[in-house]
Symmetry: D2
Subunit: 460 residues, 4 copies
């Protein structure tokens, strides 16, 4: 194939078009049309209330904007790259509709504070969406945990079987991670929910505006306190992206486990067909594609965080054109995160849990050894000695190809006279029950934790 | 020079030492000795309260730990690499001091929950330090702002002079950024201030411990809710590092401005000798080294954030050795951030502000043009026309090599009959005063903002 | 505005569509249609040559593929999301056109080696494009350097004026950076230009294929040596992205300088209207938007590099679905880099150089002080003493508000008897001429460097 | 524990010490002593050759430097923080030893080109070290591959068993990755192996120096071509770090597999005690600590890359103090990478391969299904139909709890009359043998690939 052909076509694109496309933001900031129009309506109404424009002009402007919103939602407005961004596209359309009055909307407002407003409205909306999606996944985890409340599997450290845990306990670990994510986003909202309009280009505006009433109209908790900061600040984007990176990290851990558990070697779960691709030849074999893809998309979200931090590094005050780079990565972060959460909720709900394989793995002698040592400690043996006894025992078992379950009391006693009949009461169930501390995997604790989590999720 | 020589020496190091040094954390986690000892004391006391160990044993353990702390602080304890980490170094020393009783300290505790505890104690401390350092810089900015309350300079967008602003207003923009940093860390503290001990290796412990009392003793607000999560969670490290990245980004912006302002071309400020290197040949020339270095160190802090996010990506539950990578980058982030903040406070306080150069730049005609257009708008001219008139005027001035200050009323009127004598009242001062909105640069607003900021800083 | 409205609409999208859109790559991998078709044609021809399919079938397949390419280029093929990716879209269309024979194309080929092939073909093409774009910018820098061969400006360290340099010398510094970029990409090409087809899903294929002939047909230098590696390897993507990150870093440095130089304070250059936005009110004021945006886009490219490295971290062999994340960031990197380079070439060519402002800045006494000290060293004074003499001199000048140019010989001699008439020969020009070493800024050296660079650029 | 105590102690450190420690590089750049002394010796000799200093002075300087190197290597030189960096520490010591003559070493040299030289000498050395370490691991992989030439295990896609492969083939995939790493570093060396001395502070030096002879003395391939670029360029650091990130990514994949394979579920390998930690209670259980830690350290290396790219972003020419941040991350990258490679070589060599578990997994019916379908294709059945037949067969087997091995010819024929006795010849061995293409897993190909790899490794 000819590389030359391609090269030629690229160089045929002329410089004017290249620069226009390079600087235009309309291909991605069109997504802000609702925010832009809502902000303009609130601004126009305030201008009228303050006597800066007439009531009649305000009415005309508002009606024009409402009908533009309808056009956009009806797919009837053709955006133009030469009008660069969503603000100018709407502004130009408004002028077409209502004539010169349209210009009055720009009194006491600059592109710099307008774009800051739009992005904050969008971010506030994104946070609400993400918290709803987080709750969706939390609820799915709780439902699956409750439906499998009696299922035990090995808890792992270093990917080595360590101690039995309840599957519900395992899922509750993820619920806690997601709960921190919920709380973190709520905190992020406080710094997002701040109204910047009235900051002008950078220094404030020379009109008797009422910023507080605009904030109220748009549902903001606060107004910004410094005009230079207000037009230069994109912290709320970085903060959302950092929170998203943490959540994707959590999901990458869950994804990794679901992929491991779907392997022939683990065999703990099977993804529903909707979240896996089958083999045409081996219908029972399924690739957990969605989990893998989600794990891969962690990179994308980390990358957007790095991108925004890099872009902001070393920028002098106040507005610089570099800030136009605040949107694409942000939008993609919001979409990736929300879609992954929502899809995971459905995927977790529909997967098949193979209780037998889990229980079988949890019954591995390795997992009971600690409990047997604890048994000896409770009988009075110092910790180190107890471990030494059990180590001899396990070596013995391996040599004989046996498991704890096959030992007689005599055999036990040969290793320590402290062993008695009650050693046979050590099982997966007793091991679980023994971890009866807050946060522990004892069934009674896990049930309480489930109930408590259900309430927290309902409450946020 | 011979590369071979070096290569040889490296390969002479034997594998055992190489692996020991690769896996040992004592070179960096020794910093956690206070946290480790405080945690162990609280654990021992609780074990005695719960009857798990005797009061006498607990007393011995506590006395031993206290004296080890004194040894460490007196520089008398030699840490050993073969004991790998701070926990084993202290544990071994305790056994030397009090014998077998030392072993009882490890009842109902695992390395996994112990290390999580130590790191949380450290992180809590780091947050307090950082917030104190943030306050220090905020106070310095406020002091310098007040001391220069009458100083105007150009506000910039796109690094082009745009409108006059007060220097105090400019510094208040940074105060707002730092205030968000303070609030963000307070929020981060909520998710850090959680007591993990009692989670055992991963599943909880089979002893009747009292986790809440340990939390109380150590001043924690909460106990962790899930044992698997508690030993696997390093979110609080990532969250601190993300907050640190944002603060360093803010400082990189301030650093960039101080570097620009120190140039011959701007000439707005001069760093004190303590924060700059002079030339032996041109004593008046100073390199703003500290500001440059701080700007450079932004990279380091961003890098630590990426490192931790990368390390955590895709880790299955619960504890994995990968997590040992949670400390070095974190410690370096804390040090870099706190030192930069504290040094910036002193640097800002001691720098010389060149008011004349600032005012001269703020008096540039470019900066008044907007005010003159606004004047015409207030006289009734539509926005677009007003701009067109002023554009003609500025072209005229440039051709004649003149400035607004040199124009007569007649000359003004030649461009628009709306001009009147009051046009001469448009000055830097009138431009500032006109931005009389909340968050604007009008002196009356800036003074109020300073007072309000002073209170906020005092209050946090 | 109602956040609820938006939330609702999102949750109305059903899960099947959500998952389909989440996993489908056709929205972005459609860009690979040429590569996919070229690869399939080469594969079909080889299958026929090896007798695996008949010549007639191969002809049918090739004709079908050629006509599909025409359909796509004519905008006549509607891609379908339910067919997921470009490969299946083309495959399905081929079956529509030529029936069951289409299936024979998939003999001895898997999706895994097919997608690896397509991406390598694309990357090879991208490298060629980027090298052409790098050359375009290098040529522009050389042209501007030659057109301004006599222009001096201050060289800066720490953003402090340090020593005079030629503007051509300054631009040649960027030429060197870009030359390393060219060489780095050439090296990257060696590891990209490797043909993976024949690796099958992961283990090779059980057919007597001829991999070398396919490589030859497609212009590859080599075939891959290990099938597991061939389907799992995306190093070439990372390597391109790392090279792109370095180039964007270089461009961010050039952008930073052009932005500084466009400020009122420096006043060294003015961007052409095509690469700047004017103020409606101050036509002479221009925001260097394109340079700022390019500086901002550095973040995006760094982010894509981090994304890909993150995605690949810890993936077991061989193919995993995570790898589908290899394309979007890569494509965006290629576009961003090539467009920025090409636009910078045009921007640099068209900008106005303000020679007078540059020369005036280069004539600053600060810049000559070093030459005067060197003069004294040449007259026999030790280095430290010479510096001390000049330091006294400059302090004297500052107190008197004078410059070197105003000093009489007597005044010079008052500071050191070694001064003689030839001290007046120290000028910007003499300072430049004195740096007469390879790589130095002496005009004779710079002219030679220009000529040499011209040849290197022509040659690559 | 009291956070207040700590806070106090920090704030007791005085500002002068804080700034000194903040700006001093001697704690880390002391590592460059050999490079610094080698560079100074070469410079001094050249100055004498060119008549810039006397032969006697040069001799004195060289003797002084040699004895300082001995002092440092003998641990007899106390570095001082107040002397900031390694250059000034050596310079000051030289003055103590040989008096004022020491000052002459600084003729025609600046700190800016000196530090660039030292770092390039170091980087050149690091590349040689890393390539030796890469070779060490490649050799270990080859040795283990050859020692297990008959071992088959499942090849995986999506972590699902896909087709049998030879273990040697699997290790050869890593050999290929490391081979690219070797080649990439060789390419990186070309851009590192460039001599910057003679660039002065930024513009070249006003002395008749001979740069080429210095380059020759120090073994450099080239001299730098532009003085501004030479003092501002740290591309070679970024390029090494990007190469290191790729290698660590490769090692993270290998680490992930070794961790998976060490799990009870896979049971394919067991790490030697030197590279794992045992449980005191379950001696047979081993945590693959070193592999986990290496996987975790991938984060650190990625982070250093991001740090350096961030630091360099947007820096104007030429030298800025930000560049001092070029060392710590670089040194840590070099150490981490070299140590990980060397330790992996030893770890891979000493691990136990469990051939039986691998073979058992490779014999899973899932893995043979593809070969059975290919069998039918070879018998004339179209691809899709063959797949359909085998799908029915596998469903049948699952229902009956059987495997292919248990089927009679009649049972086969019930699904397709094309089956014949030769179907029983389909085994793991036949499946492997069938992939007889270059890069495929057929034993004959793998053996050839091993031999070829052995030669390549020997040759680099």
């Amino acid at each position: 194939m000819s590389d030359k052909h391609h090269l030629r076509s690229r160089f045929e694109k002329n410089m004017d078009d290249l620069v226009r496309d390079y600087t235009a933001s309309i291909p991605f900031d069109r997504r802000l049309y609702r925010q832009d129009i809502a902000g303009s309506i609130a601004h126009a109404k305030m201008l009228a209330r303050q006597g800066i424009i007439s009531d009649k002009d305000a009415e005309l402007i508002v009606m024009g904007l409402v009908s533009i919103r309808e056009e956009i939602e009806g797919g009837k407005l053709q955006f133009k790259a030469e009008l660069e961004d969503i603000h100018m596209n709407i502004e130009a359309r408004l002028a077409e509709k209502i004539g010169d009055v349209a210009g009055k909307l720009h009194s006491a407002r600059s592109r710099n504070d307008q774009v800051a407003l739009d992005l904050r409205l969008y971010a506030r909306h994104a946070i609400a969406q993400t918290n709803a999606s987080l709750k969706e996944l939390q609820t799915a985890l709780l439902d699956v945990a409750e439906a499998n409340i009696d299922v035990a599997l090995p808890g792992y450290t270093h990917l080595q079987r360590a101690q039995p845990v309840l599957l519900a306990h395992h899922f509750l670990a993820y619920l806690e991670m997601l709960q921190r994510d919920v709380e973190r986003l709520k905190d992020c909202l406080k710094r997002t929910d701040v109204m910047p309009l009235g900051s002008g280009a950078l220094a404030g505006v020379p009109y008797p505006i009422d910023r507080v009433s605009v904030a109220k109209e748009l549902g903001f908790a606060e107004i910004s306190r410094n005009s230079l900061d207000a037009v230069a600040d994109r912290d709320f984007v970085v903060e959302y992206e950092a929170a998203a990176a943490l959540t994707m990290m959590h999901l990458s851990r869950l994804a990794e486990e679901l992929i491991l558990w779907s392997s022939a070697e683990f065999g703990f779960v099977e993804m529903d067909d909707a979240y896996a691709t089958g083999s045409s030849i081996m219908p029972q074999k399924k690739n957990p594609d969605v989990a893998e893809l989600a794990r891969g998309k962690t990179g994308r979200v980390y990358g957007h965080l790095v991108a925004m931090l890099t872009t902001l590094k070393g920028l002098p005050l106040a507005y610089n054109k570099d800030l136009q780079e605040d949107k694409e990565g942000f939008f993609d972060t919001v979409d990736t995160l929300n879609n992954t959460l929502r899809i995971f909720a459905a995927m977790v709900r529909t997967m098949t849990v193979n209780k037998e394989r889990m229980l079988q793995a949890a019954s591995d002698d390795v997992l009971l050894a600690t409990d047997i040592a604890d048994y000896l400690v409770r009988k009075g043996l110092p910790f180190r000695e107890a471990h030494s006894v059990v180590a001899s025992l396990t070596r013995h078992l391996i040599e004989k190809g046996m498991s704890f379950r096959g030992l007689t009391l005599e055999e036990y006693k040969a290793f320590s006279p402290l062993f008695d009949k009650d050693v046979f009461a050590i099982t997966v169930a007793s091991s679980l029950a023994a971890r009866d501390v807050p946060g522990g995997t004892a069934p009674v604790r896990v049930k309480a934790a489930l109930a408590e989590a259900r309430e927290r999720v309902a409450g946020h």
